[in-house]
Symmetry: C2
Subunit: 109 residues, 2 copies
DNA sequence: ACCGCTGACATAGTCTAACTATGGCAGAGG
DNA sequence: CCTCTGCCATAGTTAGACTATGTCAGCGGT
């Protein structure tokens, strides 16, 4: 980790949630959406995003199909599968559980 | 990351905070303390803890000296340095900033 | 007609750090 | 004595986020 921003493991969660919220999206949109909603705190680099999407394809959490953007450009559209939605639920509860525990430790007297 | 528990990067934060709260401690105590306060959610493996402490020594965040435990055993006692306290403050604010951002994303409508 | 900009995807290679597995040693208790 | 537990340590593996780099197509300006 290069001391900047997204903690390993949470990128999946961010992508899954973003897709769940907005349905079909291409990579660029996903990255922009995460960045915007996080008030520019989280910057998803392309070198992180695309490999993550590939891994998610292999794991069966998303499907992809080629299409054309509003600006008439070629793009790959991703969509959650049922397994992806299940994974999202799992990661959400793990995240809450672990962050809650960490918070207890760092707020302990 | 092996799909279980402590997110990379936060172990330093947990150790720093634990030392800040309790002063001088040895490794075993640190691990037990984190585990107990987190209600057994966070389990610091020895293979993670000791390397992390070594790195923290090198970075100058802690000092170490050999001593004897209450149970009459040899142990290395760690203590925060000024640099360690500074690092703790830094990691706390980064943690809050990033977790806040992630929370915004995963709670967005 | 050209040129550069931006959108969009992709991959190779590096690096941090948490893990598994393993080993050692010393005191305590059966 | 012998095992258990406390306590430290390291070698090797792995995931995954990064940097750097490359591609290609459409658009706008000059």
């Amino acid at each position: 980790m290069h001391r900047d921003e997204i903690p390993p493991g949470t990128l999946y969660l961010l992508i899954l949630k973003t897709l769940a919220r907005s349905g079909e999206m291409h990579g660029y949109e996903i990255a922009n959406s995460i960045q915007r909603i996080s008030d520019d705190v989280l910057q998803v680099e392309e070198g992180s995003l695309y490999p993550a999407l590939q891994r998610m394809l292999i794991k069966g959490w998303v499907t992809a199909k080629w299409g054309t953007t509003a600006g008439n450009r070629r793009a790959r559209y991703y969509e959650l599968t049922a397994a992806g939605r299940k994974q999202l639920a799992l990661e959400m509860s793990q995240f809450e559980r672990v962050i809650g525990a960490i918070t207890r430790v760092i707020e302990a007297v």
